[in-house]
Symmetry: none
Subunit: 409 residues, 2 copies
């Protein structure tokens, strides 16, 4: 695992630029019939050419056998030990919706759901209701008056929402803040009633009262609505305290991501989140237009993971090919260090995140190896970097960007 | 090193089955004349075919350059840090003879030996006396009355024995137990007298008295016997406290091993030890007949190590070929995850355990790589797993058996 303090003691600010291009869920496994992975099959001449002039290897987001969520997967790429730095589900969701959480507040991730007359959940996703209906209901819930708290509702896509609970000024929790040691009310199963949110430590009891009050009032406010007449919450969590990249790595980092959650993650580690569009072409255009303002850019590409999660081999191949076609816009900028990495593998054969080490390449003037014939799991496995913890990517990137001083005399 | 607590927090019980087949002393080095290792030369079509559809790599039992004994070698394969969890020689021997040790007791490993008239050891193994004579002498020593202790003698093969010292009820050591901080009386050299067993901490002084009393009485009891007229003891040790596999990994594990020591090791980590016969065919038959009763099976094959220790290249090749011929009985059971591993290397060129990383393959539906052309040191060194600590094998096996939940959101 990378030694944060050591890196911090050696790093210096320079003009060189690092680009970290994250292809979400990048890695795959051989197709059970053809023996070829999505990367093997995809026509990606630009990625392949890059591999032939890059350091290649595989990265382990958390460790052998460990399947990471998006939070740990990205933190590791940013150089942070993901087991030490845990990010709650509620925080991830709230940040993704660009909600302010702040000290003393807690956030929860939620679903609008459908309850029957006896209060049993019959559809956890309220028929994947429209985002527009979600917005209407969320506005309604946002106006509820909860004793001792200010609440904010973030409407996500379809049935998803985030709720932020902030202690009201002058209320009993205003000084110590709300405590996130609460059980979920979401049973994560249909055919059951929502559970009571319960404090697991005595200090969280006043937070419990506020959340229960909100859930009771929300139930009243949604009564009779269709298809969503209930709310379930999970992953109550407060803001984690993460060292910030500008301090730790003396970088002036920017994030370019069309998906909310990844913007949120980037903000947590001190990146400036840039406005961008929905496509990878938009992201590369944002990169070009802000090229002179930052020395580290994190770009996020979601389509590979979405196809992987849906188990759609062909669409994952297409997602890789689309990225590859767009890539020259990035290559034209000629970053001093270009990292192409994934936050985890999402093999379409599994239709889920997985533990498989993730293909990785780092292109820089000072690591002109090019030992791979193309960009794939097998080629990267033979790479000169070997299989390394993902947390080691930042030190290698900083070094090849000539941003690390010598250690010792 | 695998993070035990993290694995524990993610693991869940499922129906999938893992088989860990340990070929003791598996790894070798190229023959000085032919440049080919035992695995290179052995005709092992089944192992080779398996390698072509498995994750392959090399495992490091303890660390680069470290030659492990059987205890650390196996503990690492079971997922335990072998430097943190030490097992004394006495305990290993006693457990191998299926002796009860229990809390407060200590065990020592011993040899019957031949002393000359002046008490000097002239044969540390008493001419590799018969196991039958050993049993007679051990019965005699087992009836000695030692003040403050109950003793139990385990007769091993030929000249080998184990002694367990248990505080007598109501004796001074009954509450705190015996303390294993004692020097050996076995000089491990011929031409010298047995040494005095000596406490190395004051707390062990009453234990020292008991052991010295036993050794004195044993000397009297054996006086005049031939070829064994003395006993030397080494490796005084108490039971270690190991986390148990059923708790740590939520497994219901079974051990199938014809050699006593490996059954003892398995028991230490909470495996159920199954009755089996002397051959690998017997072990595979035991596996088949208990297939529905467990979700993890450890099978142990000794012949590779015995040939290695004897420096017999040809016999090690034959041992590998014999295992390979028997293998279809195991393959027919089609375990969800099949691990073929070694606890350490035992190159015949060295006639001893060694530090060389050990060939490893893991076959599972979810890791269909097959990047090796056969099962050998060289092929495994190029495998996609790379060279990994042996403690990482369990996390990978649990993951590919779909027994590990996702980490983080």
């Amino acid at each position: 695992m990378a030694d944060f303090d050591l890196i911090h003691s050696l790093v210096r600010q320079t003009d060189s630029r690092i680009v970290l291009l994250v292809l979400d869920g990048l890695g795959g496994i051989p197709h059970p019939e053809t023996g070829r992975s999505e990367l093997d099959v995809a026509k990606t001449p630009n990625l392949d050419r890059l591999a032939r002039s890059s350091l290649t290897g595989l990265s382990l987001p958390v460790g052998h056998g460990i399947t990471p969520g998006s939070g740990p997967g990205h933190l590791a790429l940013f150089g942070y030990n993901p087991v030490e730095h845990l990010i709650g589900r509620g925080i991830l969701e709230a940040l993704g919706l660009e909600m302010e959480v702040g000290p003393g507040a807690i956030a929860a991730r939620g679903n609008y759901c459908t309850l029957d007359d006896s209060g049993v959940i019959i559809d956890r996703r309220a028929g994947r209701m429209s985002t527009r209906t979600n917005q209407e209901l969320s506005t309604r819930l946002g106006s509820l008056a909860i004793d001792g708290a200010e609440i904010a509702i973030g409407a996500g896509r379809e049935h998803r929402l985030a709720v932020v609970f902030r202690p009201a000024p002058g209320s009993p929790s205003a000084t110590v803040g709300f405590i996130d040691a609460l059980t979920d009310n979401d049973p994560q199963r249909e055919g059951e009633m929502p559970q009571e949110v319960t404090a697991v430590v005595p200090e969280a009891e006043s937070t419990e009262r506020v959340v229960r009050d909100f859930l009771w009032q929300a139930g009243e406010a949604l009564r009779g609505s269709h298809p969503a007449n209930g709310v379930v919450l999970r992953g109550f969590s407060a803001m984690p305290h993460l060292p910030l990249m500008p301090d730790t790595f003396r970088l002036n980092p920017a994030a370019i991501a069309s998906y909310p959650m990844y913007r949120g993650l980037a903000k947590l580690v001190g990146m400036k989140v840039l406005q961008t569009g929905d496509t990878i072409e938009d992201e590369f255009e944002t990169l070009r237009s802000s090229w002179n303002d930052h020395d580290f850019f994190f770009l996020h590409y979601k389509a590979t993971d979405s196809a992987g999660e849906d188990g759609d081999y062909h669409r994952k191949v297409q997602a890789l090919e689309r990225l590859d076609r767009a890539l020259p816009a990035l290559l034209d900028l000629d970053p001093d260090v270009l990292i192409v990495a994934g936050d985890h593998s999402t093999p379409t054969a599994m239709a889920a995140h997985s533990w498989h080490p993730v293909p990785l390449m780092i292109r820089s003037r000072w690591s002109p190896y090019g030992d791979a014939e193309g960009f794939s799991e097998r080629e990267c496995a033979r790479g000169i970097l070997g299989t390394i913890p993902a947390t080691e990517i930042m030190p290698v990137a900083l070094a090849t960007a000539m941003k690390l001083d010598k250690f010792g005399a």
